[in-house]
């Protein structure tokens, strides 16, 4: 009797002691947890902070590039200048001196500018592309000759920079790209409502140019598009084929282990190495042309394949064995089981992996350096073998250009690239959410 009371007391004492110790340490443990949460929040905030600085910097520098200064002029399409001998054949219209039409029109607005250098300075307000714009208008509609039309012409990059405040008016004249007189002319034009800022259509429709006001990213976007198309067409079937074979059919032995190690290894190889491989194999050995999106696509395929294979294998592993067993139990062959049941169920995961691989390929520039895609290419590529650049490469090229107006264009191109990346990554998340199955 007393024995059991004693032992009960002892138990209670032990319990109390334990409670005491627990209570004493409880606050400490809560504190540790709160501290850990704080560290976590701090890390997240720091990450967001860096991202915000980057985005704000790029957006702040780049948003002005989406507007472009235009100058409206009344141009008299003087038959004496365009076709002095009256013949209106194509060659005459192509070679005519359209620049003098613009100079005439500007001289009419500013009769004070008479010396040769003044007229030259006046002409520098309008883009070098303006004569070609008039040329195109006349070649499309020869009826314009002899008439006066109000034409909206691109302003030169320097004029554009002054209008956007990127070139300060306060610094001494000798240190500016535009003289006091040129700025005064520009202001007069603005007062008369002839200087306007419109949406910068050229930025989205032109290829590269050395005149910032005409430089666009369309050539680069199309180059990137062709490359990604090649990458997708090749890496998706090859990657999924490899993953299905390795996961569902291949025997487990030393060879498949070796292959697996190699695939994981390749996923971590720096991308420039794939560029060197592309140069050695596709260009030097197979003799494919440099700067072609097709070769770029091949290189990016080799680069994204490991990513696609690894994520596809993960998607296949996550399909529960019960599905396979049920199908086999119903008499399906291994092939039927795999392609009727397992692969469709793993497809969302495979797609997500592929899209993420594609997004990586879109942002890649290092391997493209080796295969000649860092090039000045004005003509927008029309096919897989036309020389072209890619978006990240275009950004790299513009970032190194001396002209001031390329600074904002570089940032604007980065904004476009980021927009594409966000689009692709959100598509991956959407697909995953929509088709995800929980077992």
């Amino acid at each position: 009797m007393s024995n059991s009371t004693q032992s009960r007391d002892a138990t209670r004492q032990v319990a109390e002691r334990t409670m005491k110790r627990v209570n004493a340490s409880l606050r400490k443990r809560y504190r540790a947890e709160r501290r850990f949460r704080m560290y976590g929040i701090l890390s997240v905030m720091l990450g967001i902070g860096f991202l915000a600085v980057l985005l704000i910097d790029i957006a702040g520098k780049g948003y002005t590039a989406f507007l472009q200064t235009y100058i409206e002029l009344e141009v008299y399409f003087d038959p004496q200048v365009i076709a002095p001998d009256g013949a209106l054949d194509e060659e005459t219209l192509r070679m005519a001196n359209y620049n003098s039409l613009i100079r005439e029109s500007l001289a009419y607005l500013f009769p004070g500018a008479t010396s040769r250098s003044d007229r030259r300075a006046l002409g520098a307000l309008v883009s070098n592309s303006a004569p070609f714009q008039l040329q195109q208008m006349v070649m499309e509609n020869p009826g314009l000759i002899g008439q006066t039309a109000r034409v909206t012409l691109l302003a030169s990059a320097d004029a554009d920079m002054v209008m956007k405040g990127m070139i300060s008016r306060r610094v001494p004249e000798a240190e500016r790209r535009l003289s006091d007189m040129q700025i005064a002319w520009l202001d007069t034009l603005e007062d008369r409502g002839r200087v306007e800022k419109h949406f910068n259509k050229a930025f989205f429709t032109h290829g590269d140019s050395r005149d910032p006001e005409q430089a666009g990213i369309w050539g680069a976007i199309k180059g990137s598009f062709y490359m990604l198309a090649v990458t997708l067409v090749l890496s998706f079937p090859i990657g999924i084929g490899a993953a299905v074979y390795l996961e569902e059919f291949a025997p487990r032995n030393r060879w498949t282990d070796l292959i697996e190690v190699n695939i994981n290894n390749l996923a971590a190889v720096p991308s420039i190495v794939f560029g060197l491989l592309g140069l050695a194999v596709f260009i030097n050995f197979f003799g494919m042309p440099r700067s072609a999106p097709f070769v770029g696509g091949l290189v990016l395929t080799v680069m994204t394949l490991p990513t696609v294979i690894i994520s596809s294998r993960a998607a296949l592993t996550s399909v529960p064995p019960s599905i396979r067993e049920a199908a086999l139990g119903m008499g399906a062959s291994k092939m039927q089981t795999t392609f009727h049941h397992v692969v469709p169920l793993a497809m969302p995961g495979m797609l997500t992996g592929t899209i993420i691989g594609m997004a990586r390929a879109l942002g890649e520039s290092a391997p493209l350096l080796m295969i000649g895609m860092v090039a000045f290419i004005v003509d927008v590529p029309k096919g897989l073998f036309d020389p072209s650049t890619a978006l990240p490469v275009q950004i790299y090229l513009w970032a190194d250009a001396p002209e001031r107006a390329f600074v904002e264009r570089t940032s604007a191109a980065i904004i476009v690239l980021l927009a594409f990346l966000i689009l692709m990554n959100s598509l991956a998340i959407y697909l995953r959410r929509k088709f995800e199955r929980r077992w």
Partner: protein, 356 residues
């Protein structure tokens, strides 16, 4: 689904095999080479593409050495027609060219490029001499404590910390120079023209040139590595931005970047001459180098437009004193030189190997 995927892969393979055919008929000029000449060559290419019925040439920015390597790899449509270079072709390169069948090479000098030492507008002006530049930036310098000592063994690790240490007339600021890395042609030219120019100021080093050329080069061209010279990457825009953020630093880059950013930075005088367009053009500013391009004469009749491209590049409206290349910061050559090279471009006068 699977059939479709297989079909797509088959199509891709077919297209791939067609690639060789696509290349057999290249109808655009293919140019490679120096990133310093790139901004000028691209402007010419664009104007050429617009004003003629030929396609706009493709210009790859590979660096002078990389460009010459590609250029000398052989004759044929898969090889470039023209290579730009910010230095003259080397003997070894001429030899490689010849070994690969590229024997008829035309050399065209296009103009000059000044290399400037610039700093922020708010910073004091440095009245530099080439000797100052050498003393401030070389890895090893003659011992300032023993001015009479000669010989490579007597040289010490660069002891100068501030510009005032180098030359009492210079501002009392820490030596901090942002410049291109060794892979850059601008760096080579800077070492050769600015540092070597100052190095030669020492009589015994000058004599060393005749005795031991490689030791002479090592003494004059090696840049210090203790943090006073900061390699800022190949991007000159970045150097301009860093100079604004740090008014105590000097930056080394091509004249065209100074020309475009004259409202933010200023070029410092070297040996008494400020880097202006005129002073570089007449040769009084000491740190300027010629720019070239090389043409494969064998391609002139094969790839359409090469004579016309050369004519555009060598026309007065392009490389003349009032031409559009001068607007971009290229320093034009004197009239006689322009005429000489325009003739060479027209007649495709081959490069004389003996001239090297």
């Amino acid at each position: 689904m699977i059939r479709k995927v297989l079909a797509a892969a088959a199509v891709a393979t077919l297209v791939a095999s067609g690639s060789v055919g696509a290349q057999a008929a290249r109808d655009y000029i293919f140019i490679v080479g120096s990133s310093t000449v790139y901004p000028f060559a691209t402007v010419v290419a664009e104007n050429f593409g617009r004003s003629t019925s030929f396609k706009t040439p493709k210009i790859e920015s590979t660096g002078s050495g990389g460009g010459l390597k590609l250029f000398c790899a052989g004759v044929g449509v898969e090889h470039p027609d023209i290579t730009n270079s910010s230095r003259r072709i080397k003997d070894t390169e001429v030899k490689t060219c010849a070994e690969n069948g590229v024997t008829n090479v035309v050399e065209i000098k296009v103009g000059y490029d000044g290399i400037v030492m610039a700093n922020d507008k708010s910073a004091p002006t440095f009245n530099l001499s080439r000797r100052d530049i050498y003393l401030a930036l070389a890895k090893k310098v003659p011992n300032p404590k023993e001015p009479s000592a000669t010989g490579v063994a007597s040289m010490v690790d660069n002891p100068y910390k501030t510009w005032k240490d180098v030359n009492p007339e210079l501002p009392n600021l820490k030596i901090e120079v942002l410049g291109p890395p060794p892979t850059s042609g601008t760096r080579d030219a800077f070492a050769e023209l600015a540092m070597e120019g100052g190095c030669k100021d020492f009589e015994w080093i000058k004599e060393l040139k005749g005795q031991d050329k490689s030791a002479y080069k090592a003494v004059c061209h090696t840049v210090r590595e203790d943090g006073a010279y900061i390699e800022a990457g190949e991007n000159d825009n970045l150097i301009v931005q860093k100079l604004q953020a740090n008014p105590d630093a000097l930056g080394v880059f091509g004249f065209s970047f100074l020309d475009q950013n004259g409202d933010k930075i200023k070029g410092n005088p070297i040996d008494g001459f400020v880097p202006t367009f005129d002073d570089i053009a007449d040769g009084s500013y000491p740190v300027s180098r010629p720019l070239f391009f090389y043409v494969k004469a064998a391609h002139a009749g094969v790839i359409p437009g090469i004579p016309q491209y050369l004519a555009e590049f060598t026309s007065e409206k392009a490389w003349g004193p009032d031409g559009y290349l001068a607007d971009r910061g290229l320093i034009p050559m004197p009239k006689e030189e322009r005429e000489q090279f325009a003739r060479a471009a027209k007649d495709l006068t081959p490069l004389k190997l003996a001239a090297n």
